[in-house]
């Protein structure tokens, strides 16, 4: 299809043929829709394009293309000769999934906790790069909360291009503030602005303590956000200070809250939760075990969240026991 390869004379015949074809196409259109004045104009444009062929082939191609465009638009079934190659596909249209990591970077995280967390996240990102397969663009957004609440990057980044930037811990635990920020960004006008379909996001909270600010009101606000409502929520408490009730309030179910008491557990749990939730989030429904009747909307509602809880719990039973040094000692 490209003219460059065939040299000037080839290009010229091609251009001539093109211009001629456009002429014919325009004439055809006239036949199909007599009286459409606009088409006459198009035919004239094509005529002119044909005339220019004698000057330079290149110019003619350009003009012919310009003339062809409105013709093609006018009649959708008319083939645009430049773009009817059955092999010239672009990637299939994809759904998008954003994984939000909400990470506690308060002072108590300093040392082994934040060190382990940074390392496991660095390793995790390449591992889940292909989780979206051909259906889903998986993006990652990281929100950290200490005294200040900040995003690692200004927008969710495609996982293939994501590079972890190491976190440092300092300050108090402004989790309520983080909930507010998350809610503000989980919007079609902000972070969830894919033109195509989106899966409900994955929201993964990691913390080692109790919020310093009044998180309750902020969490209530967050719960009004539809993306949050449909989203897959999981929480990881680090060390024994983390408050299970508070985390359950966040995820909405006991099964999606887990605790890590050692560095080894922390690494394993982050991986399990991130991989499982990304898989469920990006592929959505799987066949329920013993369904044998017409499923209702009611039955499938929050099925993913339930499945996530099940799979997290199943994986936990197989985790190696705490490897000697507890996360709460030795700092």
């Amino acid at each position: 299809m490209s003219n460059e390869k065939k040299g000037a004379s080839g290009a010229e015949t091609t251009a001539q043929a093109k211009a001629k074809a456009i002429e014919e196409a325009a004439a055809n259109l006239m036949k199909q829709a007599p009286g459409a004045a606009a088409l006459e104009g198009l035919a004239a444009a094509a005529d002119q394009a044909a005339a220019t062929v004698k000057k330079t082939a290149k110019e003619a191609v350009r003009e012919a293309k310009a003339a062809a465009q409105p013709v093609a638009d006018a009649a959708d079934d008319l083939l645009d000769f430049d773009d009817d190659d059955p092999l010239s596909a672009t990637s299939v249209s994809k759904k998008s999934l954003v994984i939000f990591f909400l990470i506690d970077t308060s002072r108590s995280m300093v040392g082994k906790k934040i060190g382990e967390l940074n390392t496991v996240m660095e390793e995790l990102i390449p591992e889940i790069r292909r989780v979206g397969e051909a259906d889903t663009d998986v993006k990652v957004a990281v929100l950290t909360f200490g005294t200040q609440v900040r995003w690692m990057y200004n927008e969710p980044i495609l996982i293939e291009d994501f590079e972890w930037s190491r976190l440092r811990a300092d300050g108090v635990t402004n989790m309520g503030e983080a909930f507010r920020e998350l809610s503000a960004r989980m919007s079609r006008n902000s972070f969830l602005n894919s033109p195509s379909l989106s899966f409900a996001p994955v929201i993964f909270l990691m913390t080692d303590g109790y919020p310093s600010d009044d998180y309750k009101e902020a969490l209530e606000e967050l719960k009004q956000n539809s993306w949050y409502k449909f989203g897959l929520k999981a929480a990881l408490g680090i060390g024994s200070e983390a408050n299970d009730e508070m985390l359950e309030e966040f995820t909405g179910s006991k099964e999606t809250v887990v605790h890590a008491y050692s560095g080894g557990q922390l690494a394993q749990m982050i991986k399990i939760i991130a991989v499982t939730s990304a898989q469920i989030g990006s592929k959505s429904m799987t066949l329920s075990d013993d369904v044998n009747h017409e499923l209702s909307e009611e039955e499938v509602r929050a099925a993913k969240q339930k499945l996530l809880g099940q799979q997290i719990q199943d994986s936990m039973t197989n985790l190696g026991d705490a490897d000697a040094i507890s996360l709460d000692t030795g700092w």
């Binding site: 059955p86 596909a89 249209s93 051909a134 799987t286 499923l295």
Partner: protein, 447 residues
């Protein structure tokens, strides 16, 4: 989840050990490793039995598949089982995918990622068919593989884009992930992948079987040719967020094909579904009609789904209707002009192509240098779509003179320019002329 580590040895069912060399990838059911066993490299699929409903029955089914053997050489079939570990975990060995094959996922993505193991950075390499011929051949091969499987009384169950490897130069196909394959009617817990599952499976009223395979096959073919989702159009995109209930609705209870002639509510959206919009215009009606039937009548009535043999005929015909013009334009003859009922004209350079009419079908085959026909096209009893029976070549001694070469193993009777019939044995050729008639036996062809 019991992960294997590099260097670890796994005991095989009938003795010997497989040594883990590296990870290939993880899926919903487990992880695939590359291992060494008996001096050869193999792929080991190692299950996450926590996610299995009934690991014992699943293992028994694989055992049965191993002893039955693959339906043909198009399958990367389970070869050997491992012993069960004390907690019941197991896996199986299969042959490694050859380097020259690309995964269907990468094909749909149009690129593959290679990751630098040291930095973790990834680079993209384009993946696309090198010829239209290879693409249509791949489609024929996929359809044929499932025909063979179904004839063996088995169903694949979770047919999706993770199940194939394709050679982008030749169109050769390898079906992988054969571990869920089960006798038609049995199911060991696999449901399938959303978008590929038949509506009745999504709705919960049927388990995967041969009929649901047929639906999934139509989705696979649609995605390969049109590069989009047959059910994702305006109606679905309007939902913005694809929740469980919207999925149940759009892929189960109220699935509407994007080109349903009687329901325009779910047409593809410009800017999102550009591939489908572009390619739907290119394909001939008989191909589009087959998809329309699959995704309209075939949604509610599994018996109305296109059977593999019918798909095979459709795509063998499509392959014979490719025109490779000397100007570089390669496309289906439906996109060429038709100055009269017996010829095609290149819309780009104006070259005219004569056509050959076979007595066993209505459509005419366009002729160009290098075009071929296959055994199955000249012998009604043959299903061989891979062996070339004849090719249009240029006479070596008289440049510019085109003729057919008999590449079959039968002698044809051919009407020559002098008006008489001559025997053309295998390996010999004859010129193409206006009064040409070829008698293949039961089938004849004429210009």
């Amino acid at each position: 989840m019991v992960e294997l580590s590099i260097g670890q040895e796994v005991e095989m069912e009938y003795g010997g050990k497989a040594e883990v060399l590296g990870v290939i990838g993880s899926g919903g059911q487990g992880t695939v490793y590359v291992v060494r066993y008996n001096g050869m490299k193999w792929a080991l699929k190692w299950y996450d039995i926590d996610k299995m409903k009934n690991p014992k029955a699943f293992r028994k089914n694989i055992q049965n598949n191993i002893s039955d053997g693959p339906p043909s050489n198009k399958f990367l079939w389970p070869k050997y089982l491992t012993k069960e570990t004390p907690d019941g975990t197991f896996g199986y060995l299969m042959e490694l995918k050859p380097e020259s094959f690309d995964s269907f996922v990468d094909i749909l993505n149009t690129y593959k990622l290679s990751v630098n193991p040291l930095t973790g950075r990834s680079t993209k390499t384009p993946v696309r068919f090198t010829s239209l011929y290879a693409m249509v051949t791949a489609v024929i091969n996929i359809v044929n593989a499932f025909r063979q499987l179904h004839r063996a009384g088995k169903s694949y169950q979770d047919l999706n884009d993770g199940g194939f490897f394709i050679n982008m130069d030749t169109g050769a196909v390898l079906v992988c992930d054969c571990d869920n394959i089960a006798p038609d009617g049995s199911n060991f817990g696999i449901g399938g992948k959303p978008g590929y599952m038949a509506p009745e499976v999504v709705r919960g009223v049927a388990k995967p079987n041969v009929q649901t395979d047929k639906y999934s096959l139509a989705v696979v073919l649609f995605k390969l040719l049109f590069r989009g989702d047959p059910m994702e159009g305006e109606k679905v995109v309007r939902d913005v967020c694809l929740t469980e209930s919207s999925e149940l609705k759009h892929y189960g209870q109220n699935a509407v094909f994007i080109y349903d002639p009687d329901d325009a509510s779910n047409r593809p959206v410009r800017g999102i579904h550009d591939n489908v919009i572009k390619f739907w215009r290119i394909y001939p009606d008989y191909v589009k009609d087959a998809f329309i039937r699959s995704f309209t009548l075939g949604i509610s009535d599994p018996n109305k789904r296109i059977i593999e043999n019918e798909w095979q005929k459709i795509f063998i015909r499509l392959r014979s209707e490719i025109i490779q013009c000397s100007c570089g334009r390669t496309n289906f003859c439906s996109t060429f002009k038709q100055p009269d009922s017996k010829s095609f004209k290149c819309p780009q350079c104006g070259t005219i192509f004569d056509t050959l009419k076979f007595s066993n079908r209505k459509n005419r085959m366009p002729l160009y240098l290098g075009c071929v026909f296959y055994e199955c096209e000249i012998d009604p009893d043959s299903e061989d779509f891979q062996t070339i029976a004849g090719e249009l070549v240029e006479n070596r001694l008289k440049p510019g003179v085109l003729g057919f070469k008999n590449m079959s193993n039968k002698t044809w009777s051919v009407k020559m320019p002098d008006g008489d019939y001559y025997d053309i044995p295998p390996g010999k050729g004859f010129p193409v002329w206006q009064g040409l008639v070829i008698n293949f036996g039961e089938v004849t062809a004429s210009l």
